[in-house]
Amino acid sequence: MPRPEERFVTFSIDGREVSAPAGVMLADGAKYGDIEIPVFCYEPKLGAPVGACRMCLVEVEGIPKLQTACSTPVKDGMVVHTQTQRVREAQNSVVEFLLVNHPLDCPVCDKGGECPLQDITFGWGRGISRMVEPKRHFRKPVELSPLIAIDRERCILCYRCVRFSQEVSEDYQLILNERGASSFVGTFDGHPYVAPFSGNIVELCPVGALTSRAYRFRARPWDIEGSGSVCTHCPAQCNVEFTVRDERVLRVLARDNHGVDDGWLCDKGRFAYQAIHSDERITEPLVRNPDSGELEPATWEYALDVAASAIEQAGSSVAAIAGGTTTNEEGFLLQRLVRAVGSADLDSRAGLPPVPAETQRALAAPALQATIPDIEFAHTVLLLGTDPIDDVASLDLRIRKGVRRNGVKLAVATSRPSALDANSRLWLRYAPGAEHAFVAALAAAVGGADGVEALCEKADADPKAVAALAQLLQDGGEDVVIVWGQRIGAAPLPSLLNLAAALRLGERAGAGLIEVPVGGNARGLREVGVQSNAGPGLKDAKAGKSAHEIAQQAADGKLTTLYLLHADPVRDYADRRLWERALQGAEAVVAHATLLSDALRATATVVFPAESYAEKEGTIVNLDGRVQRLRPAIGRPGSVRAEWQVLADVAKRAGHDPQVLTGPIVTQQVVAAVPFYGGLTLEEIGGKGVRWQERDAASAAPEAPAGPFEAGEPLAAPRPNGALRLGTYRSIWAAPEVEVSPALKFLTAKQQAEISPVDADRIGVDNGGRVTVSAGDVSVLASVFVRGNVPAGTVFLAEATAEQSATELLGGEPGLVEVRPA
């Protein structure tokens, strides 16, 4: 559905002429005339209003009864009164009614001081209560989930949380049990409400009925300060507000930005802040003592000297890898240093194969970029090789919103069953590792080329489904948004570009491609030149080695110094064993890290303490090209220093002074080096960020080569012959910050093998059973999860789990794995 056109209507409210967009509800329209109408249940983010609380009653001339402002759209010439005696009576009575059963818990309630019920009682209430009867009682407080406490006595039954669960996150868990005065919110059978977005109901609750257990009794609103910044846990980069008390982050709230997050946060973004104050955090530089062989705390001077001399001595055999949470500034300084010493071995692609610079430029063409809000208003959205819930959580809600409210036709084409299958018009599966064949088949089907059957055969996809998908993309409307995951690799990208050209995505504003990269700031790092085949601004640069080649070199002892900026390749990248050998093989390993991983403890020469995202200053780029600003919310613990400063100091000592004195100077250097950021200032980025494609400087984006692109000959997916195909995914909960956050610890991803019922029967295992999955001499232990729509002949394992990670098996060519009961 295309974006609705904005048309203004004029109506009168309390004698004022107000003009507001047509179709908005009176409760919102009144704000255009600076008139506040009190509401409890109304929240535009939740979709259609329900009019449950009756707080927003107003008088509309021509209608005999009072109307709910939350469900009455504004109309031209409407005359509304909010201050008459009748309205006041009604408001007083509603407040009194809501307070009949509301306990006087304010002094012990976490909501006290920021509670809409308090505010509205004060502003629109009668002031006294006539009720002397006993109030209703529930057991309290009860755990609704390990993250949320529910106090049913305080609940005013506004339905907000239930609507969120039913209509926004669509996990369908929260309901209202019982009827009338006995109603209470809960899950049907009392099981804990565990869902990826459950934390949002805490923020939605207009009273203190739903409170965060992590924040429980930590502070009152007058003890705290809010500090706006951006979450860097995934490429969605939702805008957040940190609640800070005594230099500690105590809570994370959503900061509404329609262009980014739509006001929702996932539970990882909401609760993983606890990792910032983990006891395990490194707060001082560590240097390996050559005598004892142990990592020991050291002074900054010594640590910087050791790191600088390691780089100086290695010269052109330095390699650097940046992880997803690195800011543009840090990435920029790192690539400058590495390129200055004569090396080009840089990578930030999470171990995925490098993409030729030509292809990158074609994909980065501003015309071909869709925005995140485009997903909501497109005719058709195709999810290609990514499951938002794991890769970029808040996009999941955006897609659901588009499908539910705007009738977006969703198509899902993934190897692993996706959480959005149920919402899609059409879903189809292809063999893991056969992305190239599948995208080529789809491009051929859309372009009307032949050979579709053969390509489908190679991808093990159903040709009829591919044809139906091509049909949907072509005839479903012009605005097609393709959300594709970086995890599909480099080979399918030319075909993807051909597909985009065939669908003419570059020609319409609301259509285009959105890449879901791996890692919080992966897009920004690529744009500032942290990659082996392109410099800042995706310009051509001296070619270097990609992460996998770096690992092989280091393992062979040919690479002397490895610089790991927030990257943990042993845990995160494919082929764990190779990386372990690489870290041991390198003469020096310099790392920036917040937590000391086992690999670093065993092999690092210098470990600099890294800042957490609440302490950082800098810019990052989200998945649709929005440059956003990280602002420090709290002071750095211990002797942690700003990382741009550490990188600059190392460079200076290695004889390549980058001439930076402050963080903003680095930002200026980044802007000067990347043509399409031209003239961008921190002020312009502001609190909401700015998409570089929408600025004038976007015309400086590198020339995109014209298609069609040489698609290459895709490899066929291996045929399962008793052994199964291996597919991997990275769970949202497989991350060190989840493991060290006490609140989230219960969600930590454990290895599980997702197999189809057919295979489970054949192997003779059931849900929860243990299996070993082995490729060659390497094997991984997993518990079985029999999942209905996993295609037969495939097993899916999680990557980057703390133990038994699937990356162990991802050594050589994609092949088949043996699954046996353990």
């Binding site: 304010c106 002094p107 012990v108 006290g112 001081g113 407080p141 009794f217 009152r220 007058w222 003890d223």
Partner: protein, 177 residues
Amino acid sequence: MAWTPGDDVIAVQRAPEPGGAGGAYRAFGETLRGLKTTFARMLERPVVYQYPEQKLPVYPRFRGRHKLHRFSDTGLEKCVGCSLCAAACPADCIRVVAAENTPEHRVSAGERYAAVYEINLSRCIFCGYCEVACPFDAITMGHDYEMSDYNRQDLIFTKEMLLAEPLERTPLRTEDE
């Protein structure tokens, strides 16, 4: 046409013009009345309390050093750590960090209790707003006004110090004083 005021005229009542004995009294009478008090005090002995040996008794509503209270029957703290005192405090001298009561470790009667309750008495202006704000009568202003110390650090009173029964150092004024 000329306008005649007629009934619109309002007569203003004025005091008599000063002059004579009345005038003299009005000029000096009040001054002399004040001087009467002055001269009368000249005959009195000076009022000096030999502090600190002799202490000035305070009124019952005197606002001295704060006290925290417990319930007399259960011994639980009345304070639930709601921080309203800290919110009301104009000098920002109260710091409260709350925690949750558990069945094994019950400190107060409510769901929460004050794990940390500190008053920085070097900042306190003894306005008594904390006492007014407290919804549970957990904090009251006591009568102790002798709080000088050698170290500013020692003027930060912790919860234990505020809960302890203060030394009876200050005499209270009796009914007729």
